[in-house]
Symmetry: C2
Subunit: 347 residues, 2 copies
């Protein structure tokens, strides 16, 4: 007697593992999670045939509210809970094994092929260059968080995988892009632009899978097979990644060549450093005192530090140093000791 | 005729998918990647029995140097390349399908259960809270990058999965921790401390899998089954994650309670802001001129901005503002207009 949390894989029957098949065959009762992700009707039909009356097609309410009853059953018989993908990656079902652990009921987790890794793999990008993964629900709730996550990942050169809702027919790529465009209108960080390189994936793991890379403008116009859909925003591209996007996903060389992540902090630092350099170049000394020269020496030292930190990848240190140098210069100017102007917006 | 890149899953035979089995059965020749990850001897033996003389056990040289010959074969017969995990997640084999695409040879990718998702799932932490994934090789090359990645993920509250080398007997958890301890000695960011909460996973997907959470000090002393091993450094913990670590992975409530990510940028900003506040509190005006007051007003405004940015999560803006305020104050002091002292190290 035990509780088996069984991953069903990507949603088509070919992605069932042998271990999943074995557990399904021997379990006394199997609850099928029909709501956390998409399963092909053929797979559900096959489970119905194999399991017959032992199969319970469960909605969220049943699997989340009847936890203690299900765990109790598993104390007496072999109970399987069948979950799309990997059974714990969404953590929806963790409360069931916590309950089992508390009551001393044995449990086993049978991992499954997860969309998380399959989508990363289908993108042809390097897995260790992905940052935080995000989800956009059909309601659009949290799409600002998603926008910020893409930016934060890009600041570190990382790729962002965006999973689109699969419930109730699912969210499609063009609708998700339009949601992100509305955030761009508000936030204006230059992230969602027509030329922005994106990878569009649909139905990975099914017979009609779709993999394509190109510009956001093109992505909006394309036809896609039905959901599940997902979008990837690449960060910095290694040349081998760029090669794969061109050869395997059909991205045009022009779109790839123009691909520049909006390196917010780096661009900002470069602008700040240039501003201080320009200010120093055009600076007039009104007062030749040694104190003023001492402050200007300090400005030069911090400017050097800022450049050195920037080239060493220490963005925060670089930002602190250059902002401090700006403060020193502005104070000298406000006290009438020097004259200069900032070439562009500061601070 | 086609080229099949087939994922074998976690390395034990139960994790083969039905689609992988089908392709293996029908392929005219199958190259087995024996070097990118660990496969159980029983699985290799089973492949030998199924495939007989059609199986080629390939080392790195064969699969990386003979790419064009293999692709040529796939133009005439069904050729499978069998890869542990998901066949593209490590991108080692992407050059083969790029070559196939260039020559117009059909190719198919059969996804597999990947350690990436299985380990995340086995950790009981939320998948969307993982940041960049890193690897530590047996040689220890790049362990500083790994240390930095953990810190950068933690700064954003994210978890870090560290894959340990599986080649040549693999790298074990205590050895990897010792490597990180040496980086701590050098970098001193307070990341690798005896109390630091870690999750240790070994042989996930095999019969003797090991999952445990606790302090680094305890992790160093434990006995583990043989590699593959991996370590997870949690970022910020949701209460449901903390509950799972306690109940399912045996973490002691004390270790979890003490778990505080070293929020480098936030700690730093709080210190900077306090320094400016203290400097202003203890500040003596030597010169009562309106210019000096104007500069001090500006300091107050930037201090306010910095606090506001910090509480709004805008760390970079907060850092720029507070550093600028420090610059203004230091310049006033150097010109002999005010007197104050920094309570602790600045800049």
């Amino acid at each position: 007697m035990a509780l088996y949390l069984v991953g069903l894989g990507l949603g088509s029957s070919g992605y069932l593992t042998r271990m999943a098949m074995e557990v399904i065959a021997k379990s006394d009762k199997a609850y099928l999670d029909t709501y956390t992700s998409f399963l092909e009707p053929e797979l559900i039909e096959e489970l119905r045939i194999i399991l017959g009356s032992r199969l319970i097609e469960a909605d969220r309410r049943l699997l989340e509210e009847d936890v203690s009853r299900i765990v109790e059953e598993a104390g007496e018989r072999d109970i399987a809970i069948l979950v799309p993908g990997d059974p714990l990656i969404a953590t929806t079902h963790i409360s069931i094994i916590i309950e089992a652990a508390r009551r001393g009921v044995k449990y086993h987790v049978i991992h499954g092929v997860s969309a998380h890794s399959a989508l990363i793999s289908a993108s042809c990008l390097q897995a260790y260059k992905f940052g935080k993964i995000v989800t956009i629900p059909r309601s659009g709730v949290g799409v600002e968080t998603c926008y910020r996550a893409i930016l934060e990942n890009m600041e570190r050169g990382l790729h962002t995988l965006i999973l689109l809702d699969t419930a109730d027919g699912g969210l499609d790529i063009p609708s998700a892009i339009k949601m992100l465009m509305r955030v761009e209108d508000e936030f204006g960080m230059g992230l969602i632009t027509p030329e922005r390189l994106v990878i569009c994936l649909a139905r990975i793991g099914f017979g009609d899978e779709f993999r394509w890379a190109g510009s956001l403008a093109e992505a909006l116009e394309r036809n896609y097979p039905p959901p599940p859909h997902s979008i990837i925003f690449p960060g910095s591209l290694h040349f081998s990644e760029a090669e794969a996007l061109e050869t395997l996903l059909g991205a045009s060389p022009r779109v790839i060549e123009q691909h520049k992540p909006p390196w917010i902090i780096w661009q900002r630092l470069q602008r700040y450093i240039e501003n201080v350099e320009n200010a120093l170049r055009g600076l007039e000394l009104i007062d030749q005192s040694s104190e003023v020269k001492e402050v200007l020496d300090l400005v030069e030292r911090y400017l050097d530090d800022s450049r050195r930190f920037l080239s060493g990848g220490r963005g925060l240190d670089s930002l602190a140093a250059i902002s401090y140098a700006e403060g020193l210069l502005d104070c000298l100017r406000m006290l009438g000791r020097v004259r200069f102007s900032w070439s562009s917006r500061q601070g």
